[in-house]
Symmetry: C2
Subunit: 119 residues, 2 copies
């Protein structure tokens, strides 16, 4: 079946959550948001393109930082209201310069920082 970004289920703001996973290592790098146009642009360009809720603008991941995300494969979940993108990530995915945004663990009721910024 031909894929059409308009057939996905978006929230009231026209967005759906997107999980980015390192296609090689399997590490979950980040969670961000796309609207239908961002989904279409990501597939067209191969550069993962989110919608920035804070800036209310398209956000080509790494366009300013150089830490580009190249799409390896997009996957749709069973309810069609979330996406998984397998990516080739250059450098850190997180704005804190860490590889993954999920660098804080909860262990025995305490928050523990699990990784350092990349150098």
């Amino acid at each position: 079946m031909a894929f059409d970004a308009s057939t996905l289920s978006y929230n009231a703001d026209g967005l759906l959550p997107v999980v980015a996973q390192d296609a090689e290592s399997g590490e979950v790098l980040m969670l961000a948001w796309m609207n239908a146009e961002a989904v279409a642009r990501t597939l067209e360009t191969g550069r993962v393109t989110y919608w920035s809720r804070s800036r209310q603008a398209f956000w080509v991941k790494g366009e300013t930082s150089g830490h580009l995300q190249t799409l390896v494969e997009m996957r749709i979940d069973c309810d069609r209201d979330a996406l998984l993108v397998l990516v080739d990530q250059v450098g850190p995915a997180c704005h804190t310069n860490r590889r993954s945004c999920f660098y804080t663990g909860v262990r025995d009721g305490t928050e523990v920082v699990l990784s350092d910024p990349m150098v």
Copy 2:
């Protein structure tokens, strides 16, 4: 720092997106939602507990199906508005009886089913 579920950032409905990842294989299994109480219950019980938006009720994953998710570790992202739970998943995570909800890939503009229901 002691973890307090109320310090996370929730949306207007009091929810945040949660990515469940197989702690062993690294496979991303599903994306669902928690409110602060579901986060606290998950940590207290070790059974991953979501908030069902369709049923507007707590949803102890696998409570009826037997396909329990046991928490291995909870991780918080840099913006504190998304969670990653590393889990031990019994059987399929998806209601279609597939291991992962993300079983549809987009390849060359076409939707392709990548995995079959578990038997």
